[in-house]
Amino acid sequence: MSKKKHETPMLDELKKGPWPSFVKEIEKAAVKSETANDTLGQVEKSYRTRRGYWKHGGIVGVLGYGGGVIGRYTSLPEEFPGVKFFHTVRINQPSGWFYTSKALREICDIWDKYGSGLTNIHGSTGDLVLLGTNTESLEAIFAEYSSRGWDLGGSGSAMRTPSCCLGPARCEWSNINTLEINYQLTQEFQDELHRPAFPYKFKIKTSGCAVDCVASIARADLSIIGTWRGKIQIDQSEVQNYAKKGMNINAEIVNMCPTQCITYDGKEMKIDDAECSRCMHCIAKMTKALRPSGERGATLLMGSKAPIVVGSLLSWVIVPFIKLEPPYKELKELIRKMIEWWDENSKPRERIGEVIEIKGMRSFLEYIGVPPSPAQVKWPRKDPFIFFKDEDFEKVFKKGKY
């Protein structure tokens, strides 16, 4: 048991108030761990001086892997010896972040043995993150976790740990088995995940429908979003039930439809499915009355990223519709082609979305073998999204049209 080593008047303020306090969590860990104890001291100092004291880097990791562990050290080892080493270990989470109490206790028992007892559940990419251990413990940590079925996640210029929404496990809107797609893709790209060989990071996120609970459209180089090809089936009696319960169907549903493809006359709801953009608004609000039908699959979008290096992007459509059924061969091959093209054409630290913008859609689409389609146009009338080549003009001249 270690006693509280540092006075932390500023952090103590953050123990007050109703929202759960991270300071209380660090204090709980500090009872058993010098590392957590000195973390408190250093964070308090950061609050006082308004700057951070962590150093990054150093080659740390486990044998045979190039990622999964992020090296971290304090720049004040004499003042805070407990955090001389404060490495992070990323554990690849199960699809949909489902656990049992038994699995969580197993994770905790190993972590208490070798680390600070502090975790992030979860990191933004999806991994279960263990915060704060030293270099000597890394091999032991890896042996303990991997022998029990847990592997490390991705870091650095590599395939990052894919993540997904809970999909068919507890959601009526999911058009695809997000959990299985996510699991299969993670298994397929184990080498790329553990041994960084890419120009920069590559993230995959899978959502079952356009509600996009994991925000895949905003934070994945490849966003896989479930959709359907058939009509929206309407149960008119359930529509009436929603009206009876006080829903203003014209205001809340009809007028909110982005393509204005719904009509409702107080008795009957009609949808012009050809105009529907499958945004999910009406289905999400009136689940009992409206259901997608017909063929299910996904739209593949690409390119989203944070501001670094040249500006943030949202993913845009590359493949308007793809069937996704085990063993997902077509999807896996397509991803490999996307990555190959990116690797051939990018400079270090360029994400795939940036390279598509630089090199153009034509080069990208030709390489991955996806035909151009109007659905891929991101900004109509703004950019010439598809460029013509000399051969295109020659073909036209030969025909003698001009």
């Binding site: 929202w19 964070v43 489902f98 109490s101 915060l131 022998s147 809970l166």
Partner: protein, 179 residues
């Protein structure tokens, strides 16, 4: 001290072993769900099976002690089954209706914050800040804590026109792109 034999490139454990039996039985067969209160919803399957979910807030940085406490609660009311959301909330998955009220009572008694479902402010996604990052321009956890103390009622009770998602990035790296 001898260590067990390490394994490489095994990937994560398969999710199926962590799914409650009622979910395994009704995978892809859910019909609709209803939000009963800001921290409780029920999903109903085609065949009538039900699963209740109680959602609680988390500061994301969790000590192993807290994870064990959460696990104990899951053992008592959920057959040990629970999950985390993409916004770092904890979700207790309850298969037996008679546990729905008692788990909420126990969570409240233990000081957990129940809420975040429906048109409200859910948990705040954020970066590491001064707790752990070398390039943090400001703190993240502290900012989120102070902000959510103010906005607490929007997680637990108050309604808004739609869901609101807040995020804090402590530098433009936006690690994990915190949308």
């Amino acid at each position: 001290m001898s260590l067990p034999q390490r394994k490489t490139d095994i990937g994560p454990p398969h999710y199926e072993q962590f799914l409650p039996p009622v979910i395994k039985k009704n995978l892809g067969k859910w019909k609709y769900h209803e939000v009963i209160n800001p921290g409780l919803m029920v999903h109903v399957a085609e065949g009538g099976d039900k699963i209740w979910t109680v959602r609680v807030a988390s500061p994301r940085i969790l000590s192993t002690d807290t994870i064990r406490e959460i696990s104990d609660i899951a053992d008592k009311f959920c057959g040990g089954y629970l999950r985390f959301t993409s916004r770092n909330n904890v979700e207790f998955l309850i298969s037996d209706e008679k546990n729905v009220e008692p788990i909420q009572k126990e969570l409240k008694a233990k000081g957990y914050t129940i809420g975040g479902i429906g048109p409200r402010i859910s948990n705040v996604i954020h970066t590491q800040g001064w707790v752990h990052c070398h390039s943090a321009c400001t703190d993240a956890s502290g900012l989120v804590k102070a902000m959510m103390d103010e906005l607490y009622d929007y997680f637990t009770t108050k309604e808004l026109p739609n869901k609101v998602r807040l995020a804090v990035a402590c530098c433009v790296n936006m690690c994990g792109a915190v949308h």
